[in-house]
């Protein structure tokens, strides 16, 4: 472990703090939210006030309440999508790195092919064919973002499998599964966790983009992305409708990056 | 020529001070070679880096003097120190595999060192570099100088490192375990080369190693370091025949056990 520079440490702490607040807010949204997020409670496009902290939207719904419930959706989508990506990426990366040879070439060439598609178009194409709903969003994002993890895990496996403790395990007769899960994978976790954290930021952004285009989370369920979409026509008259979800997305993504970078230093991950 | 007085270097980890070099004094005369013997963790490498002021946070040179021709190196400004480092005192390291930059030819790297310190133009620096490769007995220097580090074996790379270190005609060479990573037959060649060069160029050498056998072959005088302190000092033969400290004795006894039959 290395000591972090003060500045970086502070940024990481700020990141953790913001993410924690968002998570708590998301979990306790029903208790914190003053109004039902999809109920029309007031005149439309009211500016922020004591009664409506973030104002109201074009239909007269409370933006503060919608942002809280939106946090639930956006963070959940990010977390689930990145978990799918990490699981698939780790599985393929581990198999490629451990066995090498033809299996490795086959898996890594598929990764190259997947990476060669601009993933946002791929996601859009799939989403157009499927019914856009929150589950499909999570799965589609997960299925299109595992390649980086696969490459990373393969690299780690290639490195670790040459270490003497792995050879020692082989010499005492340990099975492949035992070597992979007991001796290699636990030592490859640090970079996977870092990649997962950074990947979650990416997944949240993708979800926002999809919802913004109307192919993600569907109204009336609020997500930060579709809140942005709703604001399009009201930029001039009700700028807070765009600014609030925009800032939330920015904060979440930026905080995750800070946390990821902090973890990278803390866990002494190279590259 | 070089006199170290009460030098202490510490590392700070989580507010705890680790005294890597603790009140070390030693001296090296002109043309002499001094051995610094110690096991891992003795502080011998930190001592070497401290002499050139190559200690960075969390490490710090805490106190002492490093007098070089009567001038305290620890008091020089960094620009002044740069004129000393690599030019008048230079250093070679243990690992010849990572000490050279893989993307440049060895000629470029030696010439760069020369140009940096002597302000020579490219052509002069280049011909000087060829000359240096010849000095360290690399065959076909004019051809080899265009090769990249990976085209050299470990022993040859260490020769290149020596050429680079000696390019500016330093008065003192600090050698930090320069043969530890090499095979014994190659080690013997490098040691012979260093010894010849010392005579030819009237160098002072500070030879840092864990191996008493090497010190005996290379140096007249030695200091023994243990846990950051100098525990023994004197002519190498006297230390080996008659060690004063229990630590030195155990070190020499272990070596004798291993050398008994071979």
């Amino acid at each position: 472990m290395r000591k972090m520079t003060n500045n970086k440490l502070q940024m990481t702490n700020v990141g953790i703090f913001i993410i924690l607040i968002m998570v708590v807010a998301a979990i306790f949204a029903p208790m914190i939210a003053p109004y039902d997020p999809s109920e029309i409670v007031e005149d439309n496009t009211l500016a922020p006030s004591i009664k409506h902290l973030f104002g109201t939207d074009d239909l007269g719904r409370d933006i503060f309440s919608r942002a809280l419930y939106g946090a639930r959706i956006s963070l959940t989508v990010g977390l689930v999508a990145v978990t799918i990506a990490v699981l698939i990426g780790t599985l393929f990366g581990a198999i490629a790195g451990y066995y090498g040879g033809l299996v490795d070439s086959a898996i890594m060439r598929s990764v190259d092919v997947m990476l060669a598609f601009p993933s946002i178009f791929l996601i859009l194409a799939i989403q157009v064919m499927l019914t856009p709903n929150i589950y499909n969003v999570m799965i589609v994002i997960g299925l299109t973002s595992w390649m980086g993890v696969a490459r990373l895990v393969r690299g780690e496996f290639l490195r670790i499998r040459e270490l003497q403790y792995v050879e020692a395990a082989r010499a005492i007769g340990a099975s492949d599964l035992r070597i992979i899960f007991r001796h290699i994978l636990p030592n490859a976790m640090a970079p996977i966790i870092v990649a997962g954290t950074l990947g979650m930021a990416g997944a949240i952004l993708t979800e926002s983009a999809l919802s913004f285009l109307g192919l993600g989370v569907q109204p009336p369920m609020p997500s930060w992305g579709n809140m942005l979409m709703d604001s399009q026509a009201y930029m001039r008259d009700a700028p807070w409708m765009a600014i609030i979800p925009g800032i939330l997305i920015l904060l979440a993504v930026l905080s995750l990056y800070f946390v990821g970078e902090g973890l990278r230093e803390r866990l002494d991950v190279r590259g | 020529m070089l006199e170290v007085k009460g030098l202490s270097t510490s590392f700070y980890q989580d507010e705890v001070e680790v005294k890597a070099v603790n009140d070390v004094s030693l001296s090296v005369a002109s043309g002499e070679s001094l051995g610094v013997v110690g096991e891992s963790g003795s502080g011998k490498s930190t001592l070497a880096l401290s002499l050139l002021r190559l200690i960075y946070p969390p490490g710090k040179i805490v106190s002492g003097e490093v007098l070089f021709d009567g001038q305290d190196l620890l008091k020089l400004s960094e620009p002044e120190m740069i004129k000393v480092r690599g030019a008048r005192i230079s250093m070679i390291f243990q690992d010849p595999f990572t000490s050279l930059n893989p993307v440049f030819t060895v000629g470029y790297q030696i010439a760069e060192a020369i140009a940096l310190h002597q302000g020579a133009n490219r052509k002069q620096a280049w011909s000087k570099a060829v000359e240096m490769l010849e000095t360290v007995r690399i065959p076909h220097p004019a051809l080899r100088i265009r090769d990249y580090p990976h085209q050299f074996s470990g022993g040859m790379r260490q020769r290149v490192m020596i050429a680079m270190a000696l390019a500016c005609r330093p008065e003192i060479l600090i050698a930090d375990e320069p043969t530890t990573a090499l095979d014994v037959t190659i080690q013997a060649e490098i040691l012979k080369l260093l010894k010849d060069l010392q005579k030819e160029l009237k160098l002072s050498i500070i030879y840092i190693t864990h191996n008493f056998g090497i010190v005996k072959q290379m140096c007249e005088r030695a200091v023994v370091m243990h846990l950051g302190k100098v525990v023994e000092e004197g002519r190498i033969q006297e230390i080996m025949d008659n060690p004063r400290e229990a630590y030195t004795k155990s070190l020499i006894d272990s070596l004798k056990v291993l050398n008994d039959r071979s």
Binding site: A169, P186 | D183, V184, G213, R261
Partner: protein, 239 residues
């Protein structure tokens, strides 16, 4: 115990092991000396069947299960232990795989304690992680792990070359003692002759994939036949 005939293993154009024949007799300690790239480690891994030879045969006498009866101790105590596994578990792993002791927790724990004791480490080390141990201590753990499966034959792949001299002698003495107590057979690999002279009855000199000469330690050290062996002897700095 182990007889190797005309063994060959090439990696591309590199002839790592190029027609090696030798025999390790039961109860002896054979030293295999060679410099980097000589193929000595490849030969050891072929004997342990960690890699397959291109051609040639290896005959095992009195060895039923290679993974249990033959073990290896590695050079680098920094990387030879899994940093995330406690010492006790690392030593217990071969027992679990080969079901050496009854699968009862107390029995396994006792056996781990015995093994730690055998390599002269305190029993409470079982709960520690490798990073809390010194290089010499880690090497002792490596030896205990190798012994856990009750092997008959040990490959010692430069087991002391990255340790300080005083520690080297301690580890070599421990290995000698264990050999006597447990009736072990050793193949001891090193890059110079000093440790081999201290450890072994017989020496094989290897270079560029071939065995140059084999003989008793006395003979090789006092009257080497091959010029390369002489060069090796002359190269090591004398005290």
């Amino acid at each position: 115990m182990i007889e190797v005939k005309e063994l060959k293993k090439y990696f591309g154009v590199v002839r790592a092991v190029d027609g090696v024949s030798l025999a390790v007799e039961s109860g002896e300690s054979l030293g295999l000396v060679g410099e980097s790239g000589s193929g000595k480690s490849t030969l050891a891994r072929l004997i342990l069947k960690l890699i397959e030879p291109d051609s040639g045969t290896i005959n095992y006498d009195g060895i039923k299960n290679i993974r249990k009866d033959c073990q290896i101790v590695f050079q680098d105590p920094q990387t030879s232990l899994n940093p995330r596994i406690r010492i006790g578990e690392a030593i217990g792993e071969p027992m679990a795989i080969h079901k050496i002791v009854e699968n009862r927790k107390s029995k396994i724990e006792n056996r781990i304690k015995d093994l730690l004791d055998m390599v002269k480490l305190p029993a409470e080390y079982a709960n520690r992680y490798p990073h809390a141990l010194s290089g010499g201590e880690r090497q002792r753990v490596g030896i205990a792990r190798a012994l856990a499966g009750e092997p008959r034959f040990l490959v010692l792949d430069e087991p002391v070359s990255s340790l300080d001299v005083t520690i080297q002698v301690q580890i070599l003495d421990l290995l000698k003692e264990l050999k006597r107590k447990l009736n072990l057979t050793y193949l001891f690999i090193a890059h110079d002759l000093s440790t081999i002279g201290y450890m072994c009855d017989k020496i094989a000199v290897m270079r560029a994939g071939k065995i140059l000469e084999i003989g008793t330690t006395e003979l090789i050290l006092s009257a080497p036949q091959d010029p390369y062996t002489r060069q090796l002897l002359e190269s090591s700095p004398k005290l």
